[in-house]
Symmetry: C2
Subunit: 372 residues, 2 copies
């Protein structure tokens, strides 16, 4: 049994990209098939295509809808490493960037103009992402020249525009109805904004933590001393946003929490300094979904971020993160809003994966992940 | 530019397997080409096929000699991860196991009988390795069933027989001319055997370290307390074997040092307990080259290992290592000796790697590894 796949880099991830019908030919469920192809369960994934890290054990499954406005539907799969399991619960912003490029490379979409727009829809979240792939003079360039932080080699420029991202989880951009709210935690009254765009995020002001806005490089130390209090803020926000009935029941991953401050005059290279918490720890950069939420917050009068970034943000917003400045963009067209970031993507290899014949009880048990 | 490659598991390594002529078509040196294909320099190798660990950043380059007794010549390349460099200095026993299977899968060698023999030669070391690939009823089995420690899924059974491995580095199996010698270090007189087969190895007796042969699981602690003394023994052996002019100039990797003891009666599952030092630390298992040296030592009257393992070793030698028992085998045929171990191997994917177009100074600098 052999299965076609493209191995692609999307942003800072490596993704195995399948067409849905090729996987169907294997005649087994994706929850069993993908772990076996990746070599799971095995902390080294030594007998499969997985890379033994969370950013290299990812799959994207593509599908061409028969009609409608969507060119490509894609489903993201986070493939377990030590467990023969697949997590279908969320999308991966980095892997999203492979869908448009794949569509052009396979001839599903004909490039046109200096930028080709491909309308994609992520099935995990229902989010439509309009991808803008650089196609100078109407073709993919032979020489790649787009760079991005975290990737030492160039790729194709891919813009990911999240279409009308507000309220996808809670139904409203401002789930509490207010642009700014007050939360009391750790003996302090926190001025926060709770927004739902890309993902639910609660934004707190760096000054409420006693952080020095002028010394961004000192934030991490200050934040790590107040992680418990910040988690209390986050859990109260979960309840206020309708994501959990009680603070005790708030999920660990939702909402995310962002700390923000205005840049100092001595540092004019960005519009806002931010530090995001991810699973209770400072994030080394900024998840794409988080950057979407912050961008919409900056565009919304009355929010903490709108005050920080100034009253008239342009189409671009520059966010300073521990990994460097990340720029997002906004575009209004035909009554829809796109909020996005640019990534780079590249096809690393065109492959045919060999799936070992599963016959007999031992092999069947292997496929079910029972042989560790 | 696209380059064909098979991605294969050999033993506990993942190896990228190329035919020499396919790499030549790229028109650039392998020292530049391989790192770029693998995504180096980059600790994550995120833009290439490398797996960001030493056991997954390996290449094997195959070549079919025009005449003679050798079916396949192969060259092993350890591809740097954080450096855009290739180490050609040694062979990899695990990756060796892909050469015979590749030759059968590509039709270079026609399988015959229940075991097909493929004569391979490693060009890094000059070592001929006769590979015995299981081909029941004259064909590669469709259902894989050969297991090995460290790999949770089955593969093809591949025996690696090192042909006449004695003296490849120093010219003699016993470089000092004696089966046993005495070395004084750390105030102790050590009874050692120095052998050269597969790799140069000095074998010391566990009892000389004060280790309890009956408590193998206590060895590591005892060994780690005496690493300095053991390195003195190893450096003196380097001089005695003619590998270095002085102890100070002895290489860190050669000779290897093995600690050995007879198994206790309560533990009849092996012929000898061994612990190997690798780069000054206890090895978690046993390198294939080291197991070849120990097997020849056990076959040679008068050595420390011959005394331990008994006077009449059979064709199989069972070595207990921290990772479990490893079995080696010996075979004499037509005046040549094969000493070997069994591995498993499997083709994970048939691929075409995309090499980005290198034009302009930035791309040329990338290819030279200058852009980190």
């Amino acid at each position: 049994m052999k299965i076609e796949a493209e191995w692609m880099r999307g942003g800072t991830s490596k993704c195995w990209v399948f067409e849905a019908e090729h996987l169907q030919e294997a005649g087994t469920s994706l929850d069993m098939l993908l772990p076996r192809l990746f070599g799971s369960p095995d902390p080294r994934q030594i007998d499969g295509v997985g890379g033994a890290t969370s950013t290299t054990s990812k799959a994207v499954i593509l599908h061409r809808p028969a009609g409608g406005d969507v060119d490509v539907e894609f489903t993201f799969a986070q493939v377990g490493i030590e467990e023969a399991a697949v997590d279908w619960g969320s999308n991966c912003g980095n892997c999203s960037a492979v869908a448009g490029l794949y569509a052009i490379e396979k001839g599903w979409v004909t490039p046109s103009g200096d930028t080709t727009r491909i309308v994609t829809r992520n099935t995990n979240t229902g989010q439509v992402i309009v991808q803008r792939v650089a196609t100078p003079a109407g073709a993919l360039p032979l020489v790649l020249d787009a760079q991005m932080p975290g990737v030492p080699f160039p790729g194709h420029r891919v813009g990911l525009g999240f279409q009308d991202p507000a309220g996808k989880t809670t139904g409203a951009l401002l789930p509490t109805g207010a642009a700014t709210d007050t939360i009391t935690a750790g003996g302090t009254r926190w001025t926060v904004s709770m927004v739902d765009a890309g993902a639910p995020v609660v934004i707190v002001r760096a000054e409420d933590l006693g952080l020095d806005p002028a010394r961004y490089d000192s934030w991490r130390t200050g934040v790590e001393l107040q992680l418990d209090t910040l988690d209390q803020v986050r859990r109260q926000a979960a309840v206020r946003m309708g994501l959990a009935p009680t603070t005790a029941e708030a999920a660990r991953a939702i909402p995310k929490l962002a700390i923000a401050a205005a840049p100092t005059q001595a540092d004019p290279g960005c519009d806002v300094n931010v530090m995001m918490l991810s699973m209770g720890r400072p994030h080394p950069a900024l998840a794409i979904t988080g950057s979407i939420a912050l961008t919409l917050a900056a565009r919304t009068p009355g929010t903490v971020l709108h005050t920080i970034s100034g009253n008239t943000p342009g189409p671009a917003l520059r966010l300073r993160t521990p990994a460097g400045v990340i720029e997002t963009w906004s575009e209004e067209r035909d009554g829809t809003l796109l909020v996005g970031v640019d990534r780079t993507a590249r096809t690393i290899a065109t492959t045919i994966i060999h799936l070992p014949e599963a016959s007999g009880s031992a092999a069947a048990a292997s496929l079910a992940g029972a042989t560790l």
